[in-house]
Each structure stands twice: as C-alpha cells, then as structure tokens.
Subunit: 222 residues, 4 copies
DNA sequence: TATGAATGAGCCTTCATTCAT
DNA sequence: CATGAATGAAGGCTCATTCAT
C-alpha cells in the first residue's frame, strides 16, 4: 500500500520519480559513471549536473543530497547484480557443480562486460572506508553472492558430489573468493597475475584450468 | 648534481631526506594514516600538516605536491609488504606446500594486525580508479604477491607434490585469489561470508579447512 | 478594474482572496510561524509551502513574491494587536490611571500568551534593519501603542489625577517604554533582570510594585 | 597560565591574532557592520570578504566559520559596552540618583552616537530567535546593564534617597526598561512616540522630563 | 488555477598551492 | 629552510523565482 507521506528512506523524491523514464535513466547513468569513477567522497555533484546539462539545483531537488543520490544509484546497482545470478542458478539446476561454476563465470563475465561501471562501483565501495550506509549497502550485495554459492554447494552436497569431509562454510568462502577475484581480474588487468583472464581468446581455457583447481585441488592424491 | 628541474622520479626532496630520521618517520606515518583513511582524492594536506603540528608550507617544500607525497608513502608501504613475505618464504623452504601456505597465512595475518593502515591503503588503492601512478605503484605490489605464490608453486612442482595435470598459472592465480580474500576477510567482517575468519579463536580451524580445499579441491574422487 | 500591472499596494492577489477563508487562514498561520521564527531574510518560502503541503508556485501566485507575502502577514498581525488594546481601553474607561495600567498589563499578557508568534514577529521586526516597507509597517504598529497610552494619560490629566507639572509627552514615552519591556520580559527570560515577571505566580505582585513606581516614582518626597 | 594547546573556545585563530593590529581592526569593523546590518543568519561572509578586499578563504582561516567570527565580534562589542558604563558610574559616585541617571543617559548617548553599529548589533540580537551562543552572549550583556542600575539603586537606598516602600527589584527593572528604550529611541526614530528624543536640540529637556517621571512618578500626591 | 520541474545565484566551507618573510 | 598568510577554485547545498502544463 502506498503511503501519502513521503517515505524519508526512499532516496529519490517524487519529483524525480515523476520524470520521464528516459530522463531518470540518464541521471542514473551519469551518477553511476561519476561514482564508479571517483568513489563517494571525491565524486562531484557539480560534475554530474554538468555532464547531464542540467542545473545543479535540480539534482538536489531530485535527491536532497549527495548521500541519497549515491544511495539511489547503489540500490539500482545491487538490483542489477541479482538478475544474472538468479537466472544462471535456475538455468543450471540439474548440472554438476563444476559445470554450474563454469556457466556462472561465463554469465557474470558477460554481464560485467556490458556493465563495467556497475562492477567498478561495487569493488570501489568494498574498500572505501567511509561512505554513507556502508554496512547496509555492502552486506546486501555480499549476501547475494554468498547465498548463490551456498545454494550451489548445498545442491552438490545433496547429490553426493562433494568430498564428504569438506567443510561447507569453507567451501562457500572458497568459491566466493575465487569468483570475486575472477571478476576483478576480468576488469582490472593487474589483478590477473599473468594468468591471462583478460584475454577473451583464452577465457575458456582459463576457466577450465581454474575449475579444475576448484574441483580437485592442487595436491596429487597419494 | 642537483638539477634545476624537479626530479619527478624522486618523490621526496633533499630537504626532506636531510631531516632527522625520526621526523621523516613521523611525517610518513601521519601521511599514511591520512591516505589510508581517506584515499588519495579526499585526503587533506591541511589535515596532515595539522596532525603533525608543522606548517602547511613545509609539506610542500618536502614533496612539492600532494601527488608526490602520496607516491612517497606508497613506495614505503610497498617496501613493508615485501619483508614478511620474504622471511616466511625463506623460513619454510623445505616444508610441503600445504604447510607453507598455512604459515604464510599466519605470518601475514600477524603483519596486518600490526599494520592495519598499510593493508588498508593497499586495498583502497586497488580499487581507486584514478590516482597518480596507479599502474606503476599497483603492479609493483601485485607482483610481490604473485612472485611469492609462483615460487611456492614451482618449488612444490619440483618436488613432485603437485597434481601433474595442474596448470601452473592457474595455480598461482588460484592461490593469490584465496590469500587476498583471506586477508580481506580478516580485515573487513562482511567479506567473511559466515566462515568465521575474523574470529581469532577459530582461526586455526578455518585455515585448516581452507588449506584442505586448496590441497584436494571440492569434488569427491571417483 | 483589474490593472495589468500588479497592484503593489495590495499584498494578496485576487486569487488568494477568493480562496476559502479556512485555507487563507492556514496560509497566514504557516507564513506567520515561519517569519516569526526566522525573520524576513532567513525565512524560506520553500519551507512555508512544504509545511502547507501546497506547491511552491501557488505561494507566488498568491503573493507574487516573498516580500508581499511578508507584507500581508505583518498587516494581519498589526490588526490583531489593535483588538485587545481597544477592548481594554473601553472596558476601563472610568477607572483611575493605575488601575487602567494594571488591567492593560494583564489583558495584553493574556493575548501574548495566546499568540506568542505575533509578538515574536513584532519584536523581531523592530530591530531587523532591512526588510521591505519597514517604516510603513512599524510606524503603524508603534502608533497603536502610542495612541493607547496617550489616551490614558489624557484621560487622567482631564480628571486631575496627574501631577500638574508632568510633561505629557514624557509620560507617554515613559509608559510606552515600561509596557514594552514588561512584555519583552514576559516573553524572553533574560530581559527580566531578576525581577521575576516570567514567574506567573509572582505576576500580580510584580505588577503592583511596578505600577507603584509608575505612580509615585522612586524618590522620597521631602 | 597559557596552555600550549589551542583554546578551541577562542573564536579567533592564532593566524588572525598575529595580523597587524590595524588589519584586525578592519576585519572586526567590516564584520560588525555586516552583522549589525543583517543579523547572524542573513549576514554574508562573502560580502564581508568583498568589503575588505580579501579572499573568502582568509576569513575562514582567521575564524574557522561564520559562527566563530560572530562570536568574536560580539565579544568585542560586549567589551565596548562595559567601558562607558563603568566610567560614568565611578565618576558620579557621590551625586544624587537623579543626577547619576542624567549623566548615564548623556554618556551612553554619546557612546551610541559614536558607535551606532554596536548598539544596532545588540538590539538585533536581543530579538533574533536563534543564533549561536545566544544565551551566553546575551546574558553577558544584559547583566552589565542590570548590575549598573542595581548598584545605582543600592547606593541611593543606602543614602536614604529612595522612597522607603519601593521594591528594589522593581526599581532595577524600571530603570533598565526606561534606559533601554531611551537608547532605542535615540537610535530608531519610530521608537520615539513623538517625545522628541532623536532631536539633539531637545535632548536636555527630554532627559529632564523623563528623570522627573522617574523620580516622582506620574500621580499627584494627595 | 494549481502545479512542480527547472534554474542559477549565492551561501558556507575546504582545499592545494604559492610566496614573502 | 621553515613559516604561515593569502588565494581562488571548487564542493555541497538552499533559495526565490519562473513558466509550461
């Protein structure tokens, strides 16, 4: 039920929500670009307005202040993350763990390529000491990913694919860590340690090698 | 011979280098604190000078500008990272891979606990889009870590510990990714997916579980 | 006949005057609250509109600009002042001067208590250097009070109550000054010099003591 | 004992205090002019800087923020008030009450004529609802005046000049009220009810008439 | 007629940097 | 060489006012 009173938690004002969808989209994109390029503290409302060709004051009419504008952008970003994860999970429900990981990597890779600023904003925020609502916003995104890997691991366990002595929480952490870094390496060349992930031609081979490490580890069985 | 032109490669001026070691150290620490707390763009030279109780002008006499001050700080930080890695590598030369990983995790954990700002600065910079000399500075640090894991993997391979079909570069990437995230989880609670790494009491158990994943992977051998 | 040019003498537009009485009253009250709380310069049309839940544009349609809105409010305020003064003057017509003063103090005290923003707006404007129509508006209010005391003094003179050598204008000034301060002290605690006027329990005693000073002065007759 | 640490209560920074006395004076005067003309909220730091022909930033280097600049100005103003009151009290110690009042009025009149902005600032602040440190600052000034009149009244009582039944606190309030309004009328024409106080030629006559009201009251002795 | 999006001037404040002393 | 006063650009934000719908 919609309340008559303004929801003060809602980052965007009614004024903004009444704008034509297309203008909302432009504002969102300009703000996302700015925040993903400069972080929260160094982002400039002035620059955003200039890039949009609108008056400074309008931005503040839409969002009240920089913090709420950021909040709005981050909310939409978090929403965009959820989509591809959900779809790939459902689409691969009946496949073995290794294959599910493979497909997740490919799906999310494609998403990141299409929305590089989205991922840049996320990683940036991860290590930005202080920005508004840090805890709330980050744990929301983190839990998306954690839940995803946990569901995969549990499915695998239920099907008896897992080594019986494997610690479930360790496995979730292990997958989350590898995937996170996989995406970082796809986005930032120097995170790639010479592996070659950023080279699209080698992507499949890299994924195979990595999944092999995940599946069977590094050490020779005696 | 001193050139009339500022040597852009040397962040610190002769003036600064002639200062008593102890004052250099204080300046370094104050700047590190500021940069690690606020990043590059939002760090304030004013605040650094105020914290040190010296004139703002002095900072600029020492380093010319904020960028070179940052450069100087990051250089020293990178140096500090190298130390514990080198020492733990040498100290564990003859042990099996799993054990070497275990000890690396413990050693670096201890280092991070002692120098939280050092690690904070590093992670911050990792994802800060634009700061001076980004490429140069980051690849220097990254390669420290990469080299470390590569040497471990190569030693293990030479000793026949590794699964014979394992891709060496994949293994390096794999270890680098896990370790990086391990340290992040130790520092930032919400990076720890529920695994429990930030809880000192469970640290040993967690490390064992994680190393087990690294050694033998997730999938049951048929 | 409506002129094309805005009639600068009439603060409120026909549009406003055609509004239901009750809405006019709400607008007046909201504007009075804002002006009495923030003065003219720092009052915010935005805030008034927000408090009323009407569009900012409407306020400007009603009054053209902030200045005329203020003018309108002050006009009504001045009108409200006149009422209690008139009624207490008429009601005490036949009593001696001291008693008339006593009753005036009580009547106006009651009025101020009921309409604190009215008095706050007045005192505020008294010393606000620059606001539109300052001279016009203030002299209108001032003359209300002056006329009131003059009529009291003249009545007393006609009845032979006054010291024969008393300067009439001095007496008017004298009473106006005391009364003004009396009301200030009732409203603002630190205007009360320790006398105790803001303490309702002591009000009667204070008034008696003060009226005694007014009637017979401070100095012992020789 | 002077502390090494900056007294954070001190409105002016060391930077400002190190300025040549003459420049400090110019800054003080410009700020006083601005605050007395516009009050606290509507005063503009920009305007002050422009009037001084200095950079905006300098003002903030001197005082940190607008509030502390205001505080500084008000402090100096309060100090200036104290001076003439003290000197006239001491100079008239042995004279009868009426004469002491007469001389106080003349002395303070002269002071106000020389420093109109000082008095304007004071009256402005009296009725300005909200400005920083309102309570502290105003009660400091108020008590100057209250103390002055109380000492006069007590001296008169001790010498047997007073009507024996006069309430001491009422007398203090009575004098404070009359004097305050006297000065207002000297400064703001429309506070002068037609008495003529703003006309320098009539000043002496007005004072005599007013002091006569104070001494013997309005009512004929029976 | 009421609306409310748009505007740009102006506000307070912080900053990196310069330079005379 | 250290100092710290001076600077002006830029930042976030609020405001009165306009005008198309």
């Amino acid at each position: 039920m919609e309340s008559i009173h303004q929801n003060t938690d809602a980052p965007a004002s009614a004024t903004f929500l009444n704008l034509p969808e297309e203008k909302q989209q432009r504002v969102y994109q300009a703000a996302l670009d700015e925040f993903s390029a400069h972080g929260f503290g160094s982002a400039s409302s002035n620059r955003i307005a200039r890039a949009l060709g609108i008056a400074k004051g309008s931005l503040f009419q839409y969002f009240g202040n920089k913090e709420r504008l950021f909040h709005y952008v981050f909310d939409r970003v978090a929403g965009q993350f959820a989509e591809p994860l959900r779809s790939v999970r459902d689409a691969t429900r009946d496949e073995p763990l290794g294959q599910r990981i493979r497909e997740a990597l490919l799906t999310v890779s494609a998403f990141l390529e299409a929305h590089p600023e989205v991922y840049r904003l996320y990683t940036r925020m991860l290590f930005q000491e202080s920005f508004p609502l840090r805890e709330t916003l980050l744990s929301r995104v983190r839990s998306l990913s954690t839940k995803y890997w946990r569901s995969l691991v549990e499915d695998a366990k239920a099907r008896g694919e897992l080594r019986p002595d494997v610690d479930m929480e360790a496995a979730v952490f292990f997958l989350d860590a590898l995937m996170d870094r996989f995406f970082q390496a796809r986005t930032l060349p120097y995170m790639d340690t010479g592996f070659g992930l950023h080279d699209d031609a080698r992507l499949d081979a890299c994924i195979d090698a990595l999944v092999s490490c995940i599946e069977r580890g590094l050490i020779a069985p005696c």
